[in-house]
């Protein structure tokens, strides 16, 4: 069970999209998991053949638990990013889910069981699902010989005992809306408490002239069919992406006492959920996509955030986050960084105010841009560079 955010303790399997024997490659969606932030599509980060699915539909699993076994080249690897040895996975029963005590550090990733000399053991080599299924069917697993890696008894061995197995699939019971609401508040509370506890924030703000950008959008949208019209958000997103290319110190993570630069510029966009709460899924490689494509992806992302169907990479890849509260009429927002990220950019509403330029007084539409920075990773000087770059880029929207 991958961690889909600093605040996640467990997830419930809603659907498996693969079955044993299926060949999968990096990026394939293998399962759908229900979390307090909605149903998320889980992508796999390795290539191989699905050997066995360990956690059945409807069951809840803590972060770090092995969900399925992947038969790679020669070794059997676990699907989960945290890889337990096969030894552990075949002998350990699933740990009971206890929300009060989140799972301790993930299993250490070690070589697979083949390379560790298996000590002679009385314990039966059987996977948890196979053990459970055997119990359901009243089969004594010790009478079987396993066909899994290292001779472990896998689900297929149990199922093979029955000529016709009609597997009853109990539909997962979705959480009640009230539970969902309190769960998401709990999740946000946990992440923000950590942010407040661990991150020494500094805050900067500046006012950006939006006339050039808005005039450009208005002219562009006249030429575009309604389905392809742009919102200013797409240009803000693009400007942030390009600026981060030149100020990489704010694009990445603070981990184990050091800054780790992000691989690519993946900007999380904070999207409020209609029932309350928010999610900040990532739009990938923002600096490499033209504005129309960013707009299309942004629309699609908002839709999937509200209706379900976010992918695990979108939940975990963001290297920085933007929060935009302009639609709520807020003039400026000084946000909290979502750990382990090191920066958060805030945009307020676009409003008109008196603007002076070379001694001339005019009325311009402007936006307040703010930056919350992690002082461990950067200083106000660097943060200031980022904000002024964003400003400069927005003065020439046709070059974005």
């Amino acid at each position: 069970m991958p961690s889909l955010g600093a605040d996640m303790a467990a997830g419930q399997i809603v659907e498996w999209l693969v079955e044993p024997g299926d060949h999968v490659k990096r990026g394939d969606i293998i399962a759908v998991v229900e979390t307090e932030k909605g149903a998320i599509e889980i992508e796999i980060f390795d290539e191989g053949k699905i050997q066995e699915v360990l956690v059945p539909v409807g069951e809840k699993a803590p972060v770090g638990m092995v969900l399925a076994l992947l038969d790679g080249t020669a070794d059997a690897d676990a699907v989960s990013p945290t890889i337990p040895t096969l030894e552990e996975s075949v002998t350990e029963e699933p740990r009971p889910l206890d929300a009060a005590s989140p799972p301790e550090t993930p299993f250490p990733a070690t070589d697979t069981a083949q390379t560790t000399s298996p000590e002679p053991s009385e314990r039966l080599r059987i996977t948890p699902t196979a053990r459970r299924r055997a119990a359901e069917l009243g089969i004594d697993p010790s009478t079987l010989s396993g066909s899994g890696a290292a001779g472990a008894i896998i689900l297929a061995d149990i199922e093979a005992m029955l000529p016709e197995v009609a597997t009853p699939t109990a539909p997962p019971t979705p959480e009640e809306p009230a539970d969902r609401k309190s769960a998401i508040r709990h999740a946000i509370g946990a992440a923000m408490s950590r942010s407040n506890r661990e991150i020494p924030h500094y805050y900067l703000g500046t006012t950006i002239d939006m006339e050039p950008t808005l005039n450009w959008i208005e002219a562009t949208n006249k030429e575009r069919p309604v389905t392809e019209r742009l919102l200013s958000s797409a240009l803000l997103l693009r400007a942030v992406g390009l600026a981060l290319r030149q100020v990489p110190d704010l694009n990445g993570f603070w981990e184990d006492g050091a800054f780790r630069p992000g691989e690519g510029i993946h900007v999380g966009w904070s999207i409020s959920l209609r029932g309350g709460g928010l999610i900040a899924p990532a739009i990938h490689d923002v600096d490499q996509k033209p504005i129309p494509q960013l707009m299309t992806e942004f629309r699609d992302l908002v839709k999937r955030t509200r209706q379900g169907g976010l992918r695990s990479s979108e939940m975990t890849d963001a290297t920085i986050t933007i929060t935009s509260l302009g639609d709520q009429g807020v003039q400026s927002v000084f946000g909290m960084i979502y750990p382990p990220q090191v920066g958060l950019i805030g945009f307020g509403k676009i409003y008109e105010r008196v603007w002076t330029n070379n001694g001339m007084i005019d009325a311009h539409r402007v936006i307040e841009a703010t930056l919350s920075g992690d002082h461990r990773a950067s200083d106000g000087h660097t943060g200031g560079q980022l904000l002024s770059l964003i400003d400069r880029l927005l003065q020439e929207p046709s070059k974005l």
Partner: protein
């Protein structure tokens, strides 16, 4: 489509975007975006949905005409007959 039907259409499309909004929750002269808490993306999706349902090409400068149910249905009715 007459204005009553157009009003029903707008309410239906709002329901697609904001499922918790029920008919009757938005007054005919209330600001739709405020009453339904629609952000600019939601509003764009509403415009797209209305365009797809009626065929009316709603230019950006006409967005203010979609402020309320009364104004929006009148605007669309006029565009359909004109």
């Amino acid at each position: 489509m007459n204005e009553t039907e157009l009003k029903a259409l707008i309410i239906r499309q709002i329901g697609e975007i904001a499922p918790e909004i029920e008919p009757g929750m938005v007054g005919p002269d209330e600001d739709i975006r405020e009453a339904c808490d629609l952000d600019s993306m939601d509003f764009l999706n509403l415009v797209i949905a209305l365009h797809e349902a009626t065929g009316v090409d709603i230019p950006e400068e006409d967005y203010p005409h979609l402020r309320t149910l009364n104004e929006g249905s009148a605007y669309l009715a006029k565009a359909l007959t004109g």
